[in-house]
Amino acid sequence: MTTSHAALSVRGLCKNFGALTVAQSIDLDLQPGARLGLIGPNGAGKTSFVNLLTGMLRADAGTILLNGEEITGLKPEARVHRGLVRTHQINTLLLETSLRENLAIAVAERENFAWRLLRFTPQWRRCLAEGEAQLAAFGIADLAQHRVAELPYGQQRLLEIAIALVLKPRVLLLDEPAAGVPAAEAHAIHAALDKLPAEISILMIEHDMDVVFRFAREIAVLVQGRVLTTGTPQAIAADPQVRAVYLGRSAP
């Protein structure tokens, strides 16, 4: 047990916004290659949890280990360089920049090219090529040179995931990857999610129960900043407590 760590291990994570508690001593482990679904009602603190893990919010208490190393005090960018990568519930993209450059900028950060001010052209070409390859893998290679603002929202969502992937994450936190996408376009996103490399440990927040139950091998339920329960999709679907607080409303 001493040699194998959880990919991500959270202990006693707490966060309050004034009187509002968004994380109440959260304990959670993400095993290597995990597919964990995080569900919970609106305002439960799911996005805040991702912000805490990535360092975009500072925790009041608790520890976060990434592959057994403590990252609790690290800056967001340092966590990214160690392999902890997220996507956003609402697109956060460089809208005036082309798709492939959105990706190339991410590759350049991953490779720490930014301080090279001389003879960067070959590196930058490699970054662009890698970006184009990722777009091809998602079936949108023909859009490479278009500005992000020109795309429909669904394809922008795909780019959000593509950027996370070129960062070569070990742990990937997906915050409602299909949020805001019309049903007709959502299947492209679900297809991309199904093809994510098996070795990446993934936590996915998702509202659509069909999607969660298809994607996740394990589900955690978050209610008012507390992990209510964790279990297999079958166990969660059958849990009366979960049905009461969450599934009850959307169950047929």
Binding site: L94, R110, A114
Partner: protein, 339 residues
Amino acid sequence: MTVRPDMSAPTLAQLRLGAGRFGWAWHVLPWGVALATYFVAGAYLTLGTAALEMILFTLSIDLALGYAGIVTFGQAAFFGVGAYAAGLLSIHVTPDPILGLLFGTAIAALLGLVTGVLILHTEGVTLMMLTLAIASMIGAFAAQAGDLTGGDNGLQGMQISPLFGVFPFDLWGQTGYLYALGVLFLWFVAAWRIVRSPFGRSLDGIRQSPRRMRAIGTPVWWRLIAVYTLAAAMAGTAGSLKAQTNQFVGLDSLDLLVSGTALVMLILGGTRRLYGAFVGAAFYVVVQDLAAEFDPFRWMFLIGGLLVVMVLFLEGGLMGVADWLHHAAARLWLGTARK
């Protein structure tokens, strides 16, 4: 199926002046004009030198504000401090122009670094107020420290030795013009490379979305400090040039009006183009000089009106207009070529 954009339509980048195979040829135009000015300007050469200095200063604002999105209205602080530093060095230490230029640049960069560390964690209106406050403080300090700066009388008694020990700074400003042009060219090439480097592209990203950049692992704060320092250095060079070519530094070089004027020049020319700073500053200086002979009041009226039109209707400034003309001409030419 999902909707896709029209693939046959050229992208914005492809329509820009300077894009494509013979795009480099467009570089010849501004620099050619600048060089030709040397031969034809005659008595107006000192005005040309002033324009070159303003171009360099405006370029520094394009880097910080245009590319990186740092809303600075206090860039004049670096211009003025560079000018005073170069002036003081020439009075107290050495009259060598190159050393003076390097010193003015370095002091301004240092000031940029220190103030950048202090203020760049803020953004928006707060940041804007802080840049104004710092510039005002430095202006007030220069006015008070009369022993050092000469106060209201300005810095007197500057001596600048011949450039490279060979070319004296003559009364007609010939050496000064070519000196300023050479320095501007070096900085321009550097800026051109920087904005195309991964570093420059990350600045463009930070302007659009700091949150996105943090999510891909960009140390946003450090990048902003780096570009702020760089822009301060560039403004310091511009100030040093002005001090050396005028052999005088006045309190007006620290005036917030300098920042404001350069900002107008930048918007007039077009932000995030580098040549926008070039065209905007040159245009402003020349038109101002022409118009001031007739009526200074109407001049401000004209420039104000032009700015309103630019901001409301022509987002890309003069460079945007040039793009549009270029595009229209290209279409016309292609159209006739096909027939």
